[in-house]
Symmetry: D2
Subunit: 358 residues, 4 copies
């Protein structure tokens, strides 16, 4: 359903980068969940910026709850979250109607719709993700309250610099104290260098985000097409600039033998547990009660200051170099977005699991 | 919707491994598409088996069209495809009610539903994929007829042996002539050795499947949540044993700088083209007219002959070793399954693109 | 979704009147519900025929459960119900490709799809409703088990003969003991006369079906678009030949003043009750715990023996008179169909109510 | 999907009566449709009030388009329509937390959600329909542009006064020139009297709305569950206070014989037409190219000045009489709401028909 995520916990985002506002409409949120604007603001602030090398557009990103909440509790009715666009400087985008920026969505959107809002990339702008983060904050409250689920994301790699991370041991404050949201302090310097070098060259960097979904109860995910990993994969690939996702051992599992990859079961304190977690917490598309661990690959920011060959909307081959500042690497800012999308996928599973209890 | 794929081209699969039959119900297939059982049988035969080291269960897999087709043409009404289960030997599964096989779905399904059909894994069995392949054959006919789209899949890696493949150059006959569906003849011997070694050790192997989706028109995919890559990622992760997916440069894109990863646009024969295709044919979630290229990681077959620690349904720690033959590596047989899922994802996009034309 | 009903309790019917079989695929049925073919057969037998003046096509209508049930319990996986077509005599329909029967679906289906299966009306035949009744039987089991809900339907009117019925007092055996499924024995003779007269004249009759949905818990129905009455109205109007539906006082409510129509609330045995039930058990789109009462209007069977003016598929004006026997009045046979559709609508609400509990 | 209508042309409404705003989010609107706020305002103004005897709450109902439109054309992205609530005087609703008004939604919503916004009925208020009318205006533009479809509604009955109307001859200006939206001038006086009498007695009236959907192309509607009449019935019953709907001859068809009800086909100017239109323009669930005619029954306004027995939220039996002014009869104001819902149902069919063309 294009701009809507989910079946029972449904989120529809709306808004163009330089329109009056962006927002999210939530339907299916159970009633009597405590919810205030402050609950949402915290995640928005985390998304807003991180470290240097980030875009200078400085939105307040103040969320307004326009419906669905009464006296601090959800009503079971649709929740409208609105975030005004205040800092949009459309004059910066003069001439963009006439330009297909390389590896951006300008050309494909124009080809699909026959029209686009060129100001700041319109709806294809990553600004749309602010609405996802707002909705994700509501999902996280629900998940925490109903099932004790916690979602922690971090930067695992920027460009060629890879962190050494044990997913189960990453705590949110380890992430937030790093300027790049990387919990491995030992690579901080190398990351800084990688970023500075790219910035100096007018270039950009990609990276990898790790996600740990904790305390997910056994039994979430709907086989056969709505497996939990399938939903999470869709959630991640719906984020701009994502090029891949893997669960547990992921692509490395293809190198293993069955005897090396299988997770042995064992009874622990009266519960069925696995002795290892190479599966990443999902078996047969259903959560098995272990940590769900996934990794998400982001391509480098397509906007760079270096000259590139491209094409104009009128079909002329041209040279183009972006003038101005840009996100050298948006991966640290993508962490709360990936967390939010994981929360949306899990929230839907949570309600679904409530509907089909034997 | 759990057992249903798609919004406009909808496929619902049904059936347990050892029930009377498995099948697929298709709704939304446009009328007047030529369709016979032979169209479907070809892909079923490809899935049925491949090379040695494959399961000895030898089903005929003869599909029957029970509705939706009249005098060789689709009616626009639901198409019911039924494939009888003939070779199910349920006596082989005696005792399975009492067993949670490691890295299988036994435990999670039991925990979710409070019941399961243990015979051959029930609905969690990969036998369910026969229904996907049948449905995928219909989707492929539609895609070919409406848009000239072709889908080619192959084995890119088995265990530690990786093929060297240029995706755009792989032809279906190169794939089918290989006993492992690997178009790189130079690694045939190494793959054979890898397989023989694992088999001899009672072990199993995973691998990687590559997919090339060709002639997909510009403009397929629905932002923001139903991006083409998001739908394809969900399609792939819905296949049993898949642990990851990547598009274009995929995880390697995280290592590149923007100037290294971006695809420059250029006019070629009056059309907007990219000079490279590191994006893998999708930009902003929408097809750009170039080849769509993705890679899918499969874990090793969880069934192995080696003894493993596990747990019984009554909560006892036990040792377990599978007696009998199994797929040492199902990756070659997974190729038509991956192709089918790609076809289902594209068919839905195809009809959606028809509905929202300006 | 055209051939699918429901969001959580989902039913997809398939099959043409003269194809090999018709059937229903159910997804979302909770696990561990006791279910056998006998449970379903009872309702199929009720639909199969009723009284004289019904079609002479005598199908066995033996249902087969092909999936989703193991050892007498539902698995939580899709349930495939198949009913073979055995008595289809397609030679009776020779020449129908060339004919648009008045007030049948021949013309509109041909115009929509550019093709149709003319044998017995193809998918537009009321034979499709056998699949609904089969699915409805499963829904009724669920409703009874989960919530004690009972659904009772009856004939309230045939042609010009109207029964005098107090909905809350109609018992299933009162209905089934009547040859026309009319619980008001005082009009039996008049109905017989009305039917005999129409039959003698080669003509047909319509009528009205009443439905009483009992013990529906307070709180079912999802505002604002999936109100319980909206879902039930859609369910009824999806039945072939239905021309109208009304709830509680229905159209007569338009004649009343607020003081005459409003249902006063009062406490009764610690529960909120209404002293009257002019609302028909639904207020603000949500069940209020009282009996849900609705009436469904059916047009007369369009097939009659009298000559009619019509048009051939090649566009010629022609005269046409049906040769052979037909249902003079299908309304008695429509009772189990209407009950089934009510059950499908309620079953979906039942699961939805479980998913969104505060 | 509770607060969302449609599959391809999707409308989600949001907002409580006394919250900051109400609104509608539209997804799936094709790109390049000319659209301004003025297009929407016209219908909002028609809904806002009509004649005397209407509620004194006088909202401006100024719509703001917050997304999805650029330089006067739709972008193919979600369109957010927001209408501020300015005149909400919540002090008038003091004590309502403690009151279940008879035949209102207070009790059922409270029972379902365990919470409600009592101010003005919260989301159960008919104020929600302002969002439907806004969305319907967009649907009407699409229908007009794509298919030349026109939708005309009118009042056919208020209380016991029935108009004599030939549906095909009703022109919008005939409707709008009447203070009660009744095109039959001969009953104007009687209606005035009926209203005055009810008002004087502190009572309220219901009525019937007629709808004529013109120039709907042959072939809209998706059998078997999404028949055009089923979708329209759901659309109408989703409107607050609606108790019944009928198509063509409707309930009267139950009184007719087949020979009296059937519509003979005949060729007229090279097209297949019907010589009568007792079917109301739909056969087999699909439009046949004739006028679609339906009638919608509304119960009387539940709010009256007369004392009524009811129950408090704490479970006490009480007497209650509404103090203040209310809509004696909202039926004239319901006309644009019914038109809007018909437009939403048709717009979805329109896009669906484009997706499944042979």
């Amino acid at each position: 359903m294009s701009n809507t995520w989910g079946e029972l916990f449904r989120v529809s985002t709306w808004g163009e980068s330089h329109g009056p506002a962006v927002g999210a409409l939530l339907d299916g949120v159970p009633s009597k969940l405590p919810l205030t604007e402050a609950d949402i603001q915290a995640d928005l602030d985390r998304r807003r910026s991180c470290g240097a090398y980030a875009t200078p557009r400085r939105e307040d990103d103040r969320v307004e709850i326009l419906s669905g909440v009464y006296q601090g509790l959800t009503l079971g009715t649709p929740i409208m979250l609105l975030i005004p666009n205040k800092q949009a400087r459309s004059q910066d985008y003069k001439g963009w109607e006439e330009l297909y920026r390389p590896s951006h969505a300008d050309y494909t959107w124009q080809a699909k719709y026959g029209i686009r809002d060129p100001r700041g990339g319109g709806r294809a702008s990553a600004r749309e993700t602010v609405a996802r983060v707002a909705a994700g904050a509501v999902a996280r409250k629900l998940l925490r309250q109903r099932a004790g689920v916690e979602i922690v994301g971090w930067v695992e790699q920027i460009g060629r610099v890879k962190a050494d991370v044990v997913s189960t041991e990453v705590a949110p404050d380890m992430v937030e104290r790093s300027p790049w949201r990387c919990p491995d302090a030992s690579v901080a310097e190398a990351m800084e260098l990688e970023l500075a070098e790219a910035a100096a060259g007018g270039d950009s960097l990609g990276g990898v985000v790790g996600l740990s979904l904790r305390h997910v109860p056994v039994g979430w995910g709907e086989p056969v097409f709505d497996r939990l990993n399938a939903l999470l994969a869709k959630a991640m690939l719906s984020i701009p600039a994502v090029k891949g996702v893997e669960f547990g051992e992921g692509f490395a599992a293809a190198l293993r033998r069955g005897s090396e990859h299988n997770d042995a079961f064992a009874m622990r304190e009266g519960r069925v547990r696995t002795l290892t977690n190479r599966s990443g917490g999902i078996q047969g598309g259903i959560s098995n009660g272990e940590e769900i661990y996934l990794r998400v690959a982001f391509k480098p920011t397509p906007t760079i200051a270096l000259p590139q060959h491209t094409v104009s909307a009128s079909g002329d081959d041209i040279e183009y170099a972006f003038k101005g500042r840009h996100d050298v690497c948006f991966v640290p800012r993508a962490v709360p977005v990936a967390e939010a999308m994981a929360a949306l996928a899990l929230a839907d599973c949570c309600l679904m699991a409530m509907s089909n209890r034997a």
